[in-house]
């Protein structure tokens, strides 16, 4: 089953990846390849089998819902790499058109 160019473009859009035509074609072929793996997995009888979300067996690992203040230098370290800032805010292009 081959994926159409439209389907591949849709996935690239979901992934927020701006791909060239060459890349779209390359990944398209590889995406179709993954379907081979799915077929293989269908062989396994998984009736009544729980999916493994995690292997530790831990449940409900909680912590106190408290605020941990960062000092000025920590805040600056976290914010300094933002491409566009206004004071302690990161400036972005408009979210709604």
């Amino acid at each position: 089953m081959q994926l159409t160019k439209k389907e591949i473009e849709h996935i690239a859009k979901l992934a927020r990846l701006d791909l060239t035509d060459a890349e779209l074609e390359k990944y398209g072929g590889q995406l179709s390849g993954i379907l081979g793996y799915i077929d293989m997995l269908k062989e396994v009888d998984t009736a009544g089998v729980e999916p493994t979300a995690q292997v530790t067996g831990l449940l409900n690992v909680l912590r106190d819902d408290g605020v941990m203040e960062w000092d000025e230098s920590e805040r600056e370290a976290a914010l300094k790499d933002a491409p566009d800032r206004e004071g302690r805010f990161i400036k972005v292009k408009r979210v709604f058109e």
Binding site: I8, I11, A12, K13, L14, A15, R16, L17, D18, L19, E23, K26, Y27, Q30, L31, I34, Y37, I38, M40, L41, K42, E43, V44, T46, V49, E50, P51, T52, A53, Q54, V55, T56, L58, V61, R63, E74, A77, A78, L79, D81, A82, P83, D84, I90, V92, K93, R94, V95, E97
Partner: protein
């Protein structure tokens, strides 16, 4: 012997006796980096000033009565581990000038123990790969043959330790990324149990299998480092609150009468005959200790590949969503008409081809209408793989397998034969999916089909959950009965 060639055990004894200082030890390592890294290409960011400062501080702490096996010991760190104030790139252009604002928990613990940060090392971009060929900064080289890869994704760390640029290194292991380069480079690579050591501050790849890994010159060294990085962490809810045993304590406790399982599905056609010879010889060596061997079967082994190849890109696609050009990292501002284009152009330009490929695969596997058939089904099959491994381990003390099916290949020469690609991952994926501890220990050399220089071979010991102590104990005694750990590459 120059100071940089010492093991942690040797160096810490000399430091404790006052025979050497951390400043001298660190200077020796930095000199070695200057000497050979142009050829080995292990390091992305060398922290000369920081290292000397940390070394001075370690010497001062020692003068003030502070002790510890890692006090003043220089280390290399894989560049997908956050180090406060130091450039951290994950070998990706999207983080080319990113400076980490905080330390990973494992880094914090090692700093508290007094270890010295020498440099951040090369890897496949975002840990996607097994050779460092996928690094945005070019592949690292194997010290045993500079035309070959050191393995990956923790290739820089492995090459650095193998060429004595440092005393030990940290890597990560998601699907073999510490064990595999250890085997290719002739050193020890330890993958702890999932949940044994904190992932906080590790740039996430596959959250359900990622672990920090230890690369060392000896098994005992790996145990020393594990002692320090292991333990529950309040910043990582997947760390297990189990007691951390001192893994160095019983390394020499006799292993006579122990039983090691040999899984049928890991000893199959296609393995390089030099690897087969080396692993068979290692089995004979262990038999001399009075260790018994038993055949076991893991029938679902072959499904580890499709399971791994669905789960990994799925989780990768989610974890790499944070690189969006908004808060940090590469941001394509010009030519971006709106917010969406900031995202898509920053990511399109900043990510390398393998990262983009995995994001596409994962996005597809998780998209509406496919999640159940793909990701969920993979996690169900994973349960069967996991339960099968646990069951096999109940009747034995650990499992033994080859680490890699062949010795190191040449740079840029990706494995194309489908059967061979299958074998690449099949030894590594099982323990990762099951969350089990595993260690690769050097067990000999093999001559690659396309070369004239014999290359290292590693054997893998897979342990029960949280039982690093047993695999380290067996690994250590095997190592001490052989000379592999004393052999050094000539660069």
């Amino acid at each position: 012997m120059s100071l940089n060639q010492l093991t942690i055990k040797e160096a810490s004894e000399k430091l404790a006796k006052g025979e050497i200082s951390s400043v001298e030890l660190t200077a020796a390592c930095l000199a070695r980096i200057k000497d050979v890294d142009e050829k080995v290409k292990a390091c992305l960011t060398v922290c000369e000033a920081e290292a000397m400062e940390m070394a001075k501080a370690a010497d001062e702490r020692r003068a003030n009565g502070r002790k510890g096996e890692l006090l003043g010991i220089p280390m290399l760190l894989k560049d997908n581990i956050m180090t406060a104030g130091i450039r951290t790139t994950a070998a990706s252009k999207i983080l080319d000038d990113y400076v980490a604002p905080y330390d990973a928990t494992v880094i914090k613990r090692l700093k508290e123990a007094g270890a010295i940060i020498l440099a951040k090392t090369n890897l496949d971009e975002f840990a996607h790969g097994a050779s460092t060929d996928n690094s945005a900064y070019g592949a690292s080289r194997n010290p045993w043959d500079l035309e070959r890869v050191p393995g990956g994704s923790s290739g820089g760390s492995a090459a650095g330790v193998a060429s004595d640029m440092s005393i030990f290194a940290l890597g990560t292991d998601t699907g073999g990324s510490t064990r595999y380069p250890a085997a290719f480079s002739g050193i020890v690579g330890l993958k702890p149990t999932y949940g044994r050591a904190s992932r906080f501050g590790l740039i996430a790849m596959t959250s359900s299998t990622d672990v920090p890994g230890v690369l060392g010159k000896t098994v005992e060294d790996a145990a020393i480092v594990l002692n320090k990085i292991a333990g529950v962490d309040e910043y990582d809810a997947t760390t297990v609150p189990a007691e951390v045993p001192d893994c160095t304590k019983n390394l020499n406790k006799p292993i006579k009468g122990m039983t090691i399982g040999l899984p049928d599905e890991y000893f199959i056609e296609g393995i390089h005959e030099g690897v087969v010879k080396a692993v068979d010889a290692a089995i004979e060596t262990l038999k001399k200790f009075g260790v018994k061997f038993k055949k076991v079967s893991l029938p679902h082994t072959k499904y580890a590949i499709p399971v791994y190849y669905i789960i990994t890109p799925s989780e990768v696609s989610s974890n790499l969503a944070r690189f969006d050009g908004i808060r940090y990292g590469f941001s394509e501002q010009k030519g971006a008409k709106n917010l969406f284009e900031i995202y898509s152009k920053s990511r399109g330009k900043g990510f390398g081809p393998e990262a983009k490929r995995r994001i596409m695969l994962g996005t597809y596997a998780l998209s509406a209408g496919y999640y159940d058939a793909y990701y969920l089904q993979a996690q169900k099959v994973r349960t069967k793989i996991r339960e099968e491994m646990y069951a096999a381990l109940e009747g034995v003390d650990c499992l033994l397998t080859p680490t890699a099916p062949h010795p190191a290949f040449k740079v840029g020469k990706q494995v194309d034969d489908p059967l061979k690609m299958y074998l690449e991952d099949i030894f590594m994926a099982g323990p990762s999916l099951a969350g089990l501890p595993a260690v690769s220990v050097p067990c000999g050399f093999a001559l690659p089909d396309d070369g004239k220089t014999s290359m290292p071979v590693g054997l893998q010991l897979i342990g029960k959950r949280l039982d690093e102590a047993t695999i380290l104990r067996i690994g250590h005694q095997y190592e001490q009965a052989t000379e592999w750990h004393k052999m050094k590459a000539e660069i």
